[in-house]
């Protein structure tokens, strides 16, 4: 395995060829905020929170899908990037209906945490207050579209890890939303194995266990990486 050397925020970093800028940065102890990214799932660069500046490139690049290369010079926390990250979080808050005070994930929400990290004390953009439905047709779980940020973790975990592919992203623009099966009530989708992995990896309160009340959703999405490692080592065993 060959090694690539690059500079991240003025520090020399050695990284395996094929690694992403995000992986190289995290290995070097440089924190880049993410939302759609989750170890154990393929990266999709949906949320744009991990955008970084790369010298010589006019365009900002998402760290989660940008491969390291020799001599790359990366900046992860310039004033411009800080401003963009705060705006991304404000867009997510104003685009949906995120009412932290009455959310199942209050206190255990990655969106709420990122808002603190980017310094959002209010949204400088106007709130849209869209009219969005809640799907309670599944016997054990619920889907509240008001709290969905379209990170697509549920889509990926169901397809890549559970192998059921219940979820997809449908429509465009402000109508874009997660759908179950062929855009049918979740509870009527035969492919769903009721495994709950989508609920486990959801970064907000959009997917939840029925019966959870305000602040009662305590999921740990990093369990997915542990599950992946356990499966892998079992397959490796004779």
């Amino acid at each position: 395995m060959s090694v690539r050397t690059l500079r991240i925020d003025g520090r020399d970093v050695a990284s395996a060829d094929g690694a992403t800028v995000l992986e190289a940065a995290r290995d070097a102890g440089v924190a880049i905020p993410t939302l759609c990214h989750l170890e154990g799932l393929s990266p999709v660069a949906a949320c744009r929170l991990c955008l970084v500046e790369i010298e010589g490139s006019g365009k900002l690049q998402p760290a989660c899908i940008t491969p390291v290369s020799e001599g790359l010079v990366v900046h992860t926390a310039t004033p411009r990037l800080r401003e963009i990250r705060r705006t991304v979080i404000e867009l997510l808050f104003t685009e949906g209906n995120h009412v932290c005070a009455v959310c199942v994930a209050n206190g255990h929400c990655e969106l709420q945490d990122r808002a603190v990290e980017v310094g959002m004390d209010h949204a400088r953009l106007p709130y849209r207050f869209p009219d969005r439905p809640v799907d309670l047709s599944h016997p054990r779980f619920g889907l509240d579209h008001n709290r969905c940020i379209l990170c697509s973790r549920c889509v990926r975990v169901c397809d890549e890890v559970e192998g059921a592919h219940v979820w997809d992203v449908a429509w465009r623009g402000e109508h874009c939303r997660i759908i179950a099966g062929l855009d049918q009530p979740w509870g009527t989708v035969d492919a769903c194995t009721d495994c709950g992995k989508c609920v486990m990896v959801c970064p907000t309160g959009a997917l939840f266990h029925k019966g959870d009340s305000e602040g009662e959703k305590h999921e740990d999405p990093s369990r997915l990486a542990a599950l992946q490692r356990a499966r892998h080592s079992r397959q490796e065993a004779p």
Partner: protein, 188 residues
């Protein structure tokens, strides 16, 4: 102490718009610190600490709880802005519309009143009707800063008493409070 006594007292107001009064309850959770606060301020307008019904002139700091949801809220917030040096959006309802804003996806006041007073009524279903007494609902509940300029944002539902104290303490010293980190700006 004698030096403190000579300083002009901070003219403080608290305002209650479309909110549950939880932010005001959290203010009362300052407990014994309220006794330290009392000699340093003059409470010139407040639903919990003053009988004054008219918002006064020349207010130094106003803590505004709640979004702007009806015609009374709208008239008052403009008056508050005009007569206050430092307007603080106090709590999530003032900053995001929060729980009162849950009605916003419904199509305006008529739909909200139908849902609340007709569809969910047990027996005597009727719209409240008292012209001049019950203020008209606005089309949507809006965050304060979407209507008037806001000088400081104090999030939380409600903001914990410690957070309120940190802000008031800084303002009393004539400093700008440092609004960052989970202790100071976490929503919910």
């Amino acid at each position: 102490m004698s030096q403190l006594a000579k300083q002009p007292k901070l003219r403080l107001a608290t305002v209650w718009l479309a909110g549950c009064s939880g932010c005001h309850m959290s203010f009362l959770d300052l407990d014994e610190w309220l006794i330290e606060l009392a000699p340093r301020i003059e409470m010139v307008f407040s639903p919990i600490a003053s009988d004054t019904k008219t918002y006064p002139e020349d207010v130094d700091v106003a803590l505004v709880e709640g979004g702007v949801g009806n015609s009374d809220n709208l008239a008052l917030i403009h008056q508050v802005r005009q007569r206050t040096r430092l307007l603080v959006s106090f709590g999530d309802c003032a900053i995001t519309a929060n729980v009162p804003g849950l009605r916003n996806p419904l199509a305006g006041p008529a739909a909200v009143l139908d849902r609340s007073y007709l569809e969910l009524a047990d027996g005597s279903a009727q719209w409240p009707h008292a012209p001049g007494l019950v203020p008209e609902l606005l089309e949507r509940v809006l965050p304060v800063h979407e209507l008037v300029p806001v000088d400081l944002f104090l999030p939380g539902c409600p903001p914990p008493a410690e957070r309120i104290r940190a802000v008031l303490d800084a303002l009393l010293r004539g400093e700008q409070p440092l609004m960052e980190g989970p202790e100071m700006i976490r929503f919910g």
